[in-house]
Structure formats: C-alpha cells, structure tokens
C-alpha cells in the first residue's frame, strides 16, 4: 500500500464514522460538531486529489461559515440539550433506505464509467492549477455561464435576506 492509500483509508473511516455520529448523536450541538469533523475529512480528500484550492474553500465555506451558522441556529432555537432519550423523529429506516439506494445508484453508474478502474494521471509538478481554474471560470468556452448564473442566485439570496431582515423591523 502506498502512503496515499493509507491516508485515504484512514480518512474514509473518519468520514463514515463521523457521518454516522452526526445522524445518531442525540445532542444537536454535538451532531453539528461531528459534522465539522466530516466536512474536514472531505477537505482532506480534496487535498489528496491535489485540489488544494477546493480543500481550503471547503474549510472556509463549510467549516468557517455553514457549520458555525448551524451551531448558532441550534444554540439559539432549541433549549433542550439532552444526551439521552428518544430521537427527534422516527424516520431513520426510510432515511437509511434512501441513503443506501443513492449509494447503490452512484456505484452502479460509476462502475460502468471507463475511468472507474484506471489510476488517475498525476498532475505534472509546476502546473498552476489555480490559474487554470480561474481562467476556466471566466472563459466563454468553459464555465462562464454556470458561474454567472450561480452568482445571480447568490445575489438573489443576499437581497432576499436583507429584505426579510429589514421587513421584520417595521
């Protein structure tokens, strides 16, 4: 086994174990903190795939913003912080079924893909992947349209948030 594979396996165990803790933890703040560990594991995966930029964006956006907002929302809305007792809802069977179905579907689609069993080619040293990504995001031949559409979506969300926040004051 190469060091990469060892790190990948450790990381995969971390992601799956912490993801299970997210859905089984009774205390919602604990669940949110386990989610942080899961998201961090995914960031390590990106790092292993030589996508350093994505790994850091994962940490900034998901851990730095979204997970912290989760924790805030939980702390400000639910007064009850218990470690034991019944789960909040009884739908775990359906959720497990849907999760397994999604996993099976993804595995089926991916197994019929040519690149599934091939080793990924190493990016040659010295390649500036970051500039390539930046150029691709604004190049008309690549992703400029999806990029701008996503920007408009985010802008709309921003305007909506400002409107809701200011309307409630009156």
């Amino acid at each position: 086994m190469t060091p990469d594979q060892i790190i990948f396996l450790l990381c995969a165990v971390l992601i799956v174990a912490t993801a299970l803790m997210v859905v089984t933890a009774r205390n919602l703040v604990h669940a949110a903190l386990w989610l942080v560990a899961t998201l961090f594991g995914v960031a390590i995966l990106y790092g292993l795939l030589q996508a350093g930029f994505l790994a850091l964006v994962q940490v900034v956006v998901y851990i730095g913003a979204i997970a912290i907002l989760f924790i805030f929302a939980v702390m400000l809305t639910r007064r009850e912080m218990r470690d034991k007792g019944a789960q909040l809802n009884q739908n775990w069977g359906l959720a497990a079924f849907l999760g397994l179905l999604t996993f099976a579907g993804l595995a089926f689609i991916l197994s019929s893909w040519v690149g599934f069993s091939n080793q990924a080619a190493k990016i040659p040293a010295g390649t500036d992947t970051l500039s390539a990504l930046g150029n691709a995001l604004v190049s008309p031949n690549a992703f400029v349209l999806p990029f701008e559409v996503a920007s408009i979506l985010l802008l709309a969300a921003l305007v909506g948030a400002v409107y809701i926040a200011s309307a409630s004051k009156k």
Binding site: P3, V29, H30, L33, V36, G52, F53, L56, V57, V59, V60, I63, G64, A65, A67, I68, I71, F72, M75, D128, T129, L130
Partner: protein, 406 residues
Amino acid sequence: MTFWNDPINFIANWLGGVFAGWGMASGLVYVITALIGIVVIILFAMAIAIFLVWVERKVVARFQDRLGPNRIGPFGLIQPFADIIKLIIKEDITPDGADKLIFNIAPVMSLASVILIWAIVPLASNIYGVDINVAVLYLVAVGSFGTLSVIMAGWASNNKYALIGAFRMVATMISYEIPMVVALLIPTILSGTMSVKGITEAQTNLWFVFLSPLGLLLFLISAIAELGRSPFDLNEAESEIVAGFHIEYTGMKFGLFYAGELLHAFTFGGFMAVLFFGGYGGFFGLEKMTAFGWLANPFVELVIFLLKALIGYWVIMWIKYSMPRIRIDFMLAFNWKFLTPLAFVLLMITALMDKLLAPTQFYASGMFLSNVLLAWIVIELLRSFSKRERLAKEKPAEPVIQAAQH
C-alpha cells in the same frame, strides 16, 4: 549547499543520510524527517510565544507608565517561566455542568489554529514549512478553526457570560472576515500569486505598502478584529462579561488561550510584513551590492523577518493599549457600512489599475495616487456625513418650525 546557505535542507539531508544508513526505506525516511520538521516548527513557535508573554507584559507596562516584570532575571526575562510553573501547578477545574470533552478540546484547538498558520510562514527564503499556491486562502481557512474553538469553549462552559462572549467573538470574526479576505486579495493582485513566498519575492524592488497603503490599513483593522483585541475585544469585555468565552478555564488551559492569542497577534504582525513590507527580503537594497552580499543569507533574513513581525506586533499592541472598547452595534456598523464597501471599491480600483497600468512606468505612482485619491474621497464623505449628523443633533426640528411660521 552548506549549513550557512540552506540550514534546513542541509540538516534534513544529513538526517536522511543517517536514517538511510540505519537501513530505513526511503519513504519512511521522508516521513520521519518531515515529522521532525513539523515538531521543530511547533517548538520554534512555542518558544516565541513564551518570549512574547514577556514582551507583551513589558510593553503594556510602558504604555501604562509602569515598569513591568523586573524581579526575576535580567529585565524580568525569566518571568514567563515562573508564570508557566504557576499555571501548571494550579488546580484544574472542570465545571459540573460543562460538556467535558468539548470543554477540554477547545483550548487545544484554539492554540492549534494559530500553530497551523506557522506551516506557511516564510521565515527566510529557504526556511519555511511548505510553500503552497493557495497560502493566502489557507490563512483564512485556519482562522475558521479559531472561530470554532471559541464557540466550543463558550458553549461547553455552560456559563452565560462565556456564551455571550462566544457570540460576540463569532459575530466579530465572521463579519470582519470579509474585509480581511478582500485585503488579502490586494497583494494577490499586485503579485499575481497566492503563495506567500511568491508575494515576498514580488516585493524585492518595491514594498506593497507603497502600492496600496489602504490595503495595509484594511488588513490591520480586520486582523485586530480577527484577533479579538481592543478596540474589538468585546468577547472578553471585563467590565461586562468578566472574561468572556474563557471565563471557566483554569491553569494551563487558560494559558493555552493566552499563549494562542499572543502568538496569533505576532503571526499577524508577521503576515503584515510578508504581505506589505517585503517579508524576509530586503535590507533596503543593501544585499544587492557586492560588499554586502553576505546579507542575502537565511539567518540574516530570519532576523529581518522576526524584527518586521515584532514591529507589526508592536503596532497591534500600541492600538490595543491606547484605544477604548467600542460598542457592538458600532463595531458591526463600522464593518458592514464602512469597511466592507471600502474594501470592495479598493479591490476594484486595484484590479483595474493593475490591468491598465501594468506595462507602463506609471504603475507604482498610479497605484499610490489612486489609493490616496480614494482615501481623500472617503474622508470627505465621512466628514460631510458626520457634519449632517451633528447638525441634525444640534438643531432638532428647527427648520420645520421656521417653515411653518412663514
């Protein structure tokens, strides 16, 4: 390659040779030398943190017209070690209602979030942890672990003051992250790279502080807010919430928060040097002359970097000990209504000027003048705004009465 020209690689090669002589596989040798390197960087950062305790106490004493620690050792230099011994032998209390695991992880994470930054600090041209091409983003990403540790500490303490402190801290950190990111983008635009080593090397001829003084100011303000130091120290406002998020921590656990804060401030001083003052490079151009060729040496560069970082740290302390705390609504309004728009305008102007002036010889002067012009416009706008506010307060409703009489 000798020890004097490239100390870290020299030692690493020598150690690698020793380990290989013991019959280790080359992969294992690499992993072990890398681990030793990591430990050395952490120890270096911690040694600096111990020294900083003394620096901080001495400097705050001078600002308050006191002497500071002066009993143990020359100039009180041994004082930090006495402090450490005291912190270690104090009783370690975990409150009854605390969430034990999270309560104990939080201080470790707080210090770790600072030490992680040291992986990318370029101490000299060949003394650094790693040189990644997204280093500027890494700085922001690691900062989010600091935010997380504050929430964990505040929530797990099961104390309302701690929770209020954590809320305030997170509100500060999340909102001031935006001008911070924009301020970090300005050296990125000017140098065309996000690698801190690349940014340092782009400043061999001219420091970025001359190209973008406003960028430096934005970075300084948002760095102080990110550190949670005065005037943004609402998270530990002693007069309101006792000690904020670390109210329940005793002994060395408090010590970890304290050491983390000092090291964080010093690290941001270092980043100010890297992003705007040429980092380890530059002895005012002397190192380019043949007579002073020996100045282009990693040890000299290390000393230059540490001195510049200390100056940045001193400025942060200077502001901390001479500014009163500001109210939280003012702090947030200052960020969202003033700092963030200013940062975005500055970013747009910098990007535009960079494209327009890049091939010409007016690049540096144009950049500087556009910054000065923007600063002047902002000051004029602020003045007219405050004038309107003042007039509205001085003569309430008077114009309306006059209009009714005529």
